[in-house]
């Protein structure tokens, strides 16, 4: 097949590692992870629509330590993808391409994703009552 012999991009392994590379691929990874999270969100909504008994079962699974660990991951992925998405929108508008600005916004994205994750979980635990 001719399509087999075509050169393929990207050639990741020939580049020296740079942190923005990691931020970039993390946007894609979190995107895929959030697509998985969307399935869980649908399940949660359907559990809510089914009735109290099944909803309690769903809440128990999500409230277990495995469930909470996954939810923590999805919370961070949500805020990372959101913040880095805004960064991408700025680039689309032509702003922030200078190396120094791009690095600074990258750091800001990581910090904001962690801050927002902590805020959401503080609210969750406050709502739970300790």
């Amino acid at each position: 097949m001719s399509e087999r012999s075509r050169p393929l991009s990207p050639h990741l392994l020939i580049y020296r590692f740079e942190w923005p590379m990691l931020l970039s691929i993390t946007h894609r990874f979190t995107g895929v992870g959030l697509a998985g999270g969307a399935i869980v969100l649908v399940w949660w909504l359907i559990a809510l629509a089914v009735g109290p008994e099944y909803f309690a079962y769903a809440q128990a699974i999500l409230g277990s330590w495995v469930g909470r660990l996954l939810l923590l991951g999805w919370t961070w992925a949500t805020f990372y993808h959101l913040c880095n998405g805004i960064r991408h929108l700025c680039w689309d508008g032509g702003w922030g391409f200078e190396l120094r600005v791009a690095r600074a916004t990258g750091v800001l994205v990581v910090i904001m994703s962690i801050v927002l994750t902590l805020a959401a979980w503080l609210i969750a635990y406050a709502a739970r009552g300790g």
């Binding site: 393929l8 697509a35 805020f79 969750a124």
Partner: protein, 125 residues
């Protein structure tokens, strides 16, 4: 010499037969989702450990139900476009790519409609 007028290029219709629409919708849905995701994430965090009555009452509130439906539409459209680009990037065999793209479309539509149906059922019951 080409017989094509520059109009086709101006419209962004090259060999792909499609221009900026895919790119543009992905940006439009992301802009819509910035406030909606912040609202929804923090609302769910506050609801997190809620019992059925509390959670159902929250979803059933007209403002929440409508915003949730808008978010679901934007979210599933956005993740559909995102997964499409990823499949196009990494699946190189023509027929596997075709099958994966169609399957992804179907699965995304089913889950998107499932989410919307659940919200409507809760809101209208």
């Amino acid at each position: 010499m080409s017989e094509r007028t520059p109009l086709a290029r101006a419209r962004g219709l090259g060999a792909a037969h499609g221009g900026t629409h895919h790119w543009w919708i992905q940006r439009a849905t992301s802009v819509v989702m910035v406030p909606l995701v912040l609202w929804f994430a923090f609302s769910l965090a506050a609801l997190g450990p809620a019992d059925h009555a509390t959670a159902a009452a929250w979803v059933a509130h007209p403002v929440n139900a409508v915003l949730a439906l808008v978010l679901i539409a934007a979210m599933f459209h956005h993740l559909h476009l995102g997964l499409e680009v990823i499949i196009e990037d990494y699946v190189h065999s023509r027929w596997v790519k075709f099958a994966t793209l169609i399957l992804q479309k179907f699965v995304t539509i089913i889950f998107g409609f499932g989410a919307a149906f659940a919200v409507l059922k809760i809101a209208l019951s």
